[in-house]
């Protein structure tokens, strides 16, 4: 069953036509990966879903409800957690304050979600009273994911979480996302094919603001031609 469905989404950033009719769906309980080169429109797709860059035409359905005309805070309250590309950490707030802010506007079992996140990312408990701006890059990413998971209810949009992280951190992150898959649906934007292909169930490839390929991740791994053409993998 589709949890999130984008239908013919068109988005402009000033005079630039970024999304040119994007249609895709995210199945409940899956990890769906959105691939594409720089500038293909992956981040804009997530930002359009969240209402930061509202689409001019097309619709976004979440739980079969049209959310394309809602403002960002209302979209968030529907249960969509968002982890932006640059993590968007509140550097002046502590880990505790950040997660409590996320909890305050969250639906569902917030305490249980908080507990689970602290089990999954023990570093957050260790640096509970530390200012978020003083955390390492990996810890900031953990905090951003925990904040979005606690705040959301059913769907996580994650934008390039492996960017700038060491290989060990990427490995840890991958394990965490796989564990999170049991409890939430994830739409992941990622350039790191090696990582994403190991955890993803479905994939979409974007090019010039359009979806050019889609299918099962297992099939993409075998499709050397597509990988080479759109992802630059030999």
């Amino acid at each position: 069953m589709s949890l999130l469905k984008l239908d013919n989404l068109e988005t402009y950033l000033e005079q630039y036509h970024i999304l040119q009719g994007v249609s895709m769906s995210v199945e409940e309980g899956s990890i769906t990966v959105l691939f594409g080169r720089n500038g293909a429109g992956k981040t804009t797709t997530l930002r359009s879903i969240m209402g930061f860059n509202p689409s001019t035409t097309g619709t976004v359905h979440f739980h079969n409800q049209n959310i394309s005309k809602l403002s960002t805070h209302l979209i968030s309250r529907k249960g969509i957690g968002y982890v932006p590309e640059n993590q968007g950490i509140f550097s002046g707030l502590t880990v505790e304050e950040t997660l409590n802010l996320a909890k305050a506007k969250s639906a569902g079992e917030t305490e249980a979600k908080m507990e689970w996140m602290l089990q999954l990312f023990p570093d957050l408990k260790k640096f509970w009273r530390k200012k978020s701006g003083l955390l390492s890059g990996g810890q900031k990413q953990m905090l951003a994911i925990a904040r979005a998971y606690i705040n959301g209810d059913g769907l996580l949009l994650i934008d390039e979480p492996s960017k700038g992280l060491s290989p060990i951190m990427v490995e840890k992150l991958m394990e965490s996302l796989l564990k999170m898959k049991e409890k939430t649906t994830i739409l992941l934007v990622e350039q790191n094919f090696l990582m994403a292909s190991q955890i993803g169930d479905y994939f979409y490839i974007m090019d010039d603001g359009k979806i050019v390929h889609e299918g099962l991740m297992e099939d993409l791994k075998e499709d050397k031609e597509t990988c080479q053409k759109y992802l630059g993998i030999a």
Binding site: H73, S76, G92, L93, N100
Partner: protein
């Protein structure tokens, strides 16, 4: 050891309050008492500005309008009616109500846009108030201003000193509670990343309006006290210099720290007082505003986090040293 460090600022605060409480008993200089009264009044004004700029990241170029609204409301009421505590309360309530209305409308019109729209709109509206005060001579007496009498309780400099001291303490505690509340944390989050706060489900406009109204109310209160302290008012209360004073006090004291705003008000008012006194003996100090401008540049370049930020850094350094020593002891 950790608990002690946490309590240090509180002990300092209590010591300063105690000193201020005893000050009129050990001091017989009337001008120092008046200077301290002015510092307390501007400390409230600087704290109100800090709520906007330091805690929420909203830039205002017209904060003087709330100060002026509070000052004129009280002065006009005292001028038109009998001067007693009841009329003071009426003037105060009218000033606060007007400030709530004006800050709410300006906020509603501009805070959904980028922050410079708020800055520009506040500047424009504050200048409108200035023109209104200039032209409505029948009530305001224009640029010449007017004097008025105040209740006996306010006439006595010592009792008024205690009233302003109490006011600054109460406003500090209330604003501290506000900034430490969940609303205050959302404001801090907005100042650091408004989009992310929105993505967490917070309607940021709503919170920015709360900050705008809170700052307006506190500024209006300080304006009312200012008018009472001078027993005179003219259109200067609506001048942009008043807003710049608040900016200077907040920046020098340290953005996002209420105690810093109080310290900033103290530094600026002391400097202004002593530099203008020096100007009597040395004409070079007649241009004392240049010295304040120079100080502003030095602070921005050398201490961008202000006095409070500088002290915080020193305390952190000390903490780290103590921690390192403890660790070395453990190893030994």
């Amino acid at each position: 050891m950790r608990g002690l460090f946490h309590k240090v600022p509180m002990y300092w605060g209590l010591a300063i309050v105690l000193f201020m409480l005893l000050f009129p008993f050990v001091n017989d200089s009337r001008s120092t008492l008046i200077l301290l009264t002015q510092i307390f009044i501007f400390a409230i004004f600087a704290m109100s500005f800090d709520i906007l700029l330091g805690y929420t990241g909203i830039v205002s170029f017209g904060h003087c309008m709330f100060f002026g609204i509070g000052a004129y409301s009280t002065a006009i009421i005292f001028n038109q009616l009998e001067a007693n505590l009841l009329t003071f309360m009426i003037g105060l309530v009218i000033g606060i109500a007007l400030s709530v209305l004006v800050s709410y409308i300006i906020g509603l019109l501009s805070l959904r846009l980028k922050s410079h729209f708020y800055a520009m709109l506040t500047l424009a509206v504050s200048q409108l108030f200035l023109v209104l005060a200039e032209k409505w001579r029948g009530v305001t007496h224009g640029g010449d201003g007017f004097t008025f009498s105040v209740p006996d309780l306010f006439k006595d400099r010592t009792s008024f000193y205690y009233i302003t001291l109490l006011s600054v303490a109460v406003v500090f505690i209330l604003l501290k509670l506000f900034t430490e509340s969940s609303t205050g944390k959302v404001l801090k989050a907005i100042s650091q990343n408004e989009h992310r706060a929105e993505a967490l489900g917070y309607k940021t406009l709503h919170y920015k309006l709360i900050a705008s109204v809170t700052a307006g109310v506190a500024a209006s209160f300080s304006g009312a006290l200012y008018a009472v302290s001078l027993r005179f008012i003219n259109t200067n209360v609506f001048s942009i210099e008043v807003t710049l004073d608040a900016l200077l006090m907040t920046m020098i004291g340290g953005l996002g720290t209420l105690a810093g705003a109080i310290a900033g008000a103290g530094i600026i008012e002391f400097l202004r007082h002593y530099l203008s006194e020096l100007a009597m003996a040395y004409p070079i100090f007649e241009r004392w505003t240049i010295i304040l401008g120079f100080l502003y540049i030095v602070v921005l370049l050398g201490f961008p986090s202000g006095l409070a930020g500088f002290i915080k850094k020193l305390t952190l350094k000390k903490k780290r040293k103590v921690k390192k020593k403890e660790e070395l002891k453990k190893i030994a």
